[in-house]
């Protein structure tokens, strides 16, 4: 377990960009054999602190001590030589080289100037064996999952440095099982006496693996605490600087609205994508959709939004059959869709926040009926205020906003069309805790206003808060529908597991 030896100490680190303080006299200390979570909303200064430690940025003030000696790394490589290794969220290795080459690039074992491939592979196998990873080290890195790539990156970083390991959001693109594998590796390294800095957005993971936690806000240190005995609500309020009752609120979505289904699909499906299913959503109802990655959740959304066309079946709105041949048609019927991959499918990066907000409404009106500029400004101002979208200016390109604020702008894009039915695919993925809670509140408010919603989410704790029913998917089929008391995280997981087991038998 964590010793009392302080491995890394940062004292009064400061950094400004164009007069804006990104880091303001921050202290941070990491003991040997400890996992230290670094938390904060986007823009709180986590990345800046890391870059100051690794020498990627020149610090304006303060000092860094490694094992009691002052260091001044001139860059990432320098830091590595001193013993500080970093692994980023997007694995910074070379995907088309083999695993062994990635591990030993720049320090290949050579004889007479030639790389000894056999020797290199043997060493690579030995190195990865320490992490319980038995893979073909001659295969290209890209042929393995992101989790394996992460572990390879960690193995390389630890092998090169060996004192401090910084993990920058390593779990952001991993599924639950992969996170488990990664955590085993982290625990092992901790046992070896490394100091590990762990940056994440997921509070659950903090409580699972971290020994201490340091919270930054607006470039300042809020505080450092041991995790043992720390209340979840305390941590959240440290991050947000305010009490957030909703976060720990008991689930309320139990009441299923009465009445006929506003939106109904029967026999919808597409070969090779998702098996035929029936689905209905009432007015003022949130239907959740859960399942593992690749279970057909997103495929279902694509079908009902008209991106893909159904092989058969029928779609009805208030009992009237409708055709959903394209997104444009679906939008004309009052549908809206916030896709999972915000950057690729959602935001139009170079355009302003205003233009992004009015885009769907303008597209529905057609090119010949432009929204007057004043109406656009009003819409943008209204939603920026209502959804608390944090931007200096409605004319700022949306790509400069943080993930959470981009997501809110995308929600605004659909709300501006006054939709009757909104599909949200992973609405809270990869966004900071503050925005997270706001989006959940927004979903509840929309539902109360009588809108029908279909929410796809991997965050089961979250899903059960607002969903009155949850459709469970597995293996590209809708396998169960939970209602009322059955809507709990464990109920959902049991439903998924039951089907997986049935499929295996």
């Amino acid at each position: 377990m964590a010793s009392d030896v302080v491995r890394l100490r940062v004292q009064g680190a400061s950094k400004s960009f164009l007069g804006i303080r990104a880091l303001d006299r921050v202290d941070f200390s990491l003991r040997a054999g400890e996992v230290h979570a670094l938390l904060g909303e986007n823009g709180a200064g986590k990345s800046t602190l890391i870059k100051v430690i690794t020498g990627a940025y020149r610090r304006d003030g303060g000092e860094i001590l490694l094992d009691g000696a002052a260091i001044d790394p001139q860059g990432v490589t320098d830091a590595q030589a001193l013993g500080i290794g970093t692994v980023y969220q997007e694995v910074n290795l070379l995907p088309n080289l083999s695993v062994a080459e990635n591990l030993f690039i720049g320090r290949e074992p050579t004889r007479f100037g030639l790389t000894r491939t056999g020797e290199m592979r043997r060493r690579a196998r030995a190195l990865l064996g320490q992490y319980g990873l038995a893979i073909d080290v001659g295969a290209p890195l890209s042929s393995f999952s992101v989790a394996v790539q992460q572990i390879v990156a960690i193995a390389r970083a630890v092998d090169l440095s060996g004192k401090v390991l910084i993990l920058d959001e390593p779990t952001a693109s991993l599924d639950a099982h992969e996170v488990d594998t990664l955590f085993e590796v982290v625990l092992q390294l901790k046992a070896r006496g490394l100091g590990i800095v762990f940056i994440t957005h997921f509070l659950d993971q903090v409580f699972r693996i971290a020994d201490s936690v340091t919270v930054l806000r607006n470039g300042r240190l809020v505080g450092s605490r041991p995790v043992a005995g720390l209340e979840r609500i305390e941590l959240v309020s440290m991050m947000l600087g305010r009490e957030l009752q909703d976060e720990e609120r008991a689930r309320s979505g139990g009441a299923t609205p009465e009445g006929a289904a506003a939106i109904r699909f029967t026999g919808y499906g597409k070969r090779g994508s998702v098996a035929p299913f029936d689905l209905s959503v009432r007015r003022g109802e949130v239907v959740g959709m859960a399942g593992l990655l690749g279970s057909g959740r997103t495929e279902t959304a694509r079908l009902i939004f008209g991106i893909d066309t159904s092989d058969g079946g029928q779609a009805e709105i208030d009992g009237t059959p409708v055709t959903l041949g394209s997104p444009a048609q679906a939008i004309a019927h009052g549908f809206g869709f916030c896709p999972e991959d915000r950057k690729v499918d959602g935001i139009v990066g170079d355009l302003s926040v205003r233009e992004n907000i009015v885009l769907a409404l303008q597209a529905r009106r057609g090119w010949a009926r432009p929204l007057p500029r004043r109406a656009q400004d009003e819409l943008a101002a209204r939603y920026i205020e209502a959804l608390d979208i944090r931007t200096s200016d409605a004319e700022k390109p949306i790509k400069f906003l943080s993930g959470g604020n981009q997501q809110k702008a995308l929600l605004a894009r659909w709300l501006a069309t006054d939709p009757r039915f909104l599909i949200l695919d992973e609405p809270t993925r990869g966004i900071d805790v503050g925005a997270h809670a706001e989006i959940i509140r927004l979903i509840e408010r929309l539902c109360a206003d009588g809108m029908s919603l279909l929410v796809i989410s991997s965050e089961l704790e979250e899903l059960v808060v607002y969903a009155s029913r949850v459709v469970v998917l597995s293996d590209r089929a809708h396998v169960a529908e939970l209602t009322g008391e059955a809507v709990t995280p464990s109920g959902i997981m049991q439903a998924i597991a039951a089907h997986e087991k049935a499929a295996a038998a």
Partner: protein, 342 residues
């Protein structure tokens, strides 16, 4: 009037470049700015720049829209040859002028729709899709003219090349008119916004209900139409359709005009006014070289050198270098990433 002011600021680099180029020519050739009234129209080197730049300016209007959608239209030069040939062959077979013009524009439109269909419906990369017509187009034009320069003497058609309205040569009137028309069309309707959205992120636009295929078809059709007008002007100018040489390599000048005008080849934000100024910068350089009296062996070298200088000065890298060179602002580059969200 803050919108007008903003537009001016957006165009400032182009306007300054044009002014510098013109000033340089004026320095080397003092008679450059001299304007006379002759034969009922303005006459002088400046008018020549406006007049000779007409085909590239017309092409650049359509090209701007195509490039804004992250596309490119390599076929415009060939479409000029085709439409010039169509106009010449119709007028020489005694078709009325109105019918000739209507059919010529229709042919240009059809060429544009062909390109648009390949891009929008078959999802062929624009550079490949329009390469087809670029290669085949001159052959088609040859077939229409039967391999000769098809000369004509119809005063009505010739008017589009060498006539004048209100003292300005007709080609100048045409590109100004077309430029204003198209600019108004895209900015007074939502076309501009939707086109920019497609250029920045076609998938996201489609998912937001933007009818991307229809709009792509529209911009390529517009480009074809602009090429048809340019082809008519070029043919009328020399009173003949020269299938081999009409519009030869002008697609590249048009693309250059758009780039000089500040529209990125990566799509998105566009400015038709910027592209038109870009076309005039190119033509000013051409005219300046002709006036300079240098041996023709140096033409292309001089042109290339000037354009390299302009592009380097306008490039984002040197823009940030200017920021970097300003004192006390050493950390300018990473600011967009690290500025707190609030």
């Amino acid at each position: 009037m803050s919108v007008a002011l903003k537009g001016l600021r957006r165009l400032a680099p182009q306007l300054v470049t044009l002014a510098v180029v013109l000033a340089l020519i004026g320095f080397a050739f003092p008679g450059f700015f001299q304007l006379n009234w002759q034969n009922g129209r303005l006459y002088g080197s400046l008018v020549d720049v406006l007049n000779r730049g007409a085909p590239v300016a017309l092409l650049a209007i359509g090209m701007t829209l195509v490039i804004a959608t992250k596309g490119i239209d390599l076929s415009v030069g060939a479409v000029m040859a085709i439409t010039g040939a169509v106009a010449a062959s119709l007028i020489t077979s005694d078709m009325p002028l109105a019918v000739t013009l209507a059919l010529t524009l229709l042919v240009g439109l059809a060429c544009g729709l062909w390109n648009g269909a390949l891009v929008a419906f078959l999802d062929i990369q624009p550079i490949i899709a329009t390469l087809i017509l670029m290669v085949a187009g001159r052959g088609i034009a040859q077939l229409i003219t039967e391999g000769v320069i098809l000369t004509f003497n119809d005063a009505g058609l010739i008017f589009f090349g060498s006539g004048s309205v209100l003292g300005l040569p007709m080609p100048v009137v045409l590109w100004l008119l077309f430029g204003v028309l198209v600019a108004l069309l895209v900015r007074r309707t939502a076309l501009g916004l939707l086109i920019e959205a497609i250029g920045v992120n076609r998938r996201a636009s489609m998912l937001s209900g933007v009818r991307t295929r229809f709009l792509l078809l529209t911009v390529y059709a517009t480009s074809g139409l602009c090429a048809a007008v340019a082809g008519t002007v070029a043919a009328a100018d020399i009173r003949g359709a020269d299938a081999n040489n009409a519009g030869l390599w002008l697609e590249l000048d048009a693309i250059l005009a758009v780039v000089l005008g500040g529209t990125s080849l990566l799509g998105g934000r566009f400015s038709i006014a910027g592209s038109l100024i870009g076309a005039m910068i190119i033509q000013a350089i051409n005219t300046g070289i002709l006036l300079s009296g240098f041996p023709p062996e140096f033409n292309l070298i001089i042109k290339a050198a000037i354009i390299v200088v302009i592009l380097v000065v306008q490039s984002p890298a040197s823009q940030s270098l200017f920021v970097y060179l300003r004192p006390e602002r050493r950390d300018a580059t990473p600011v967009t990433r690290e500025r707190p969200a609030r």
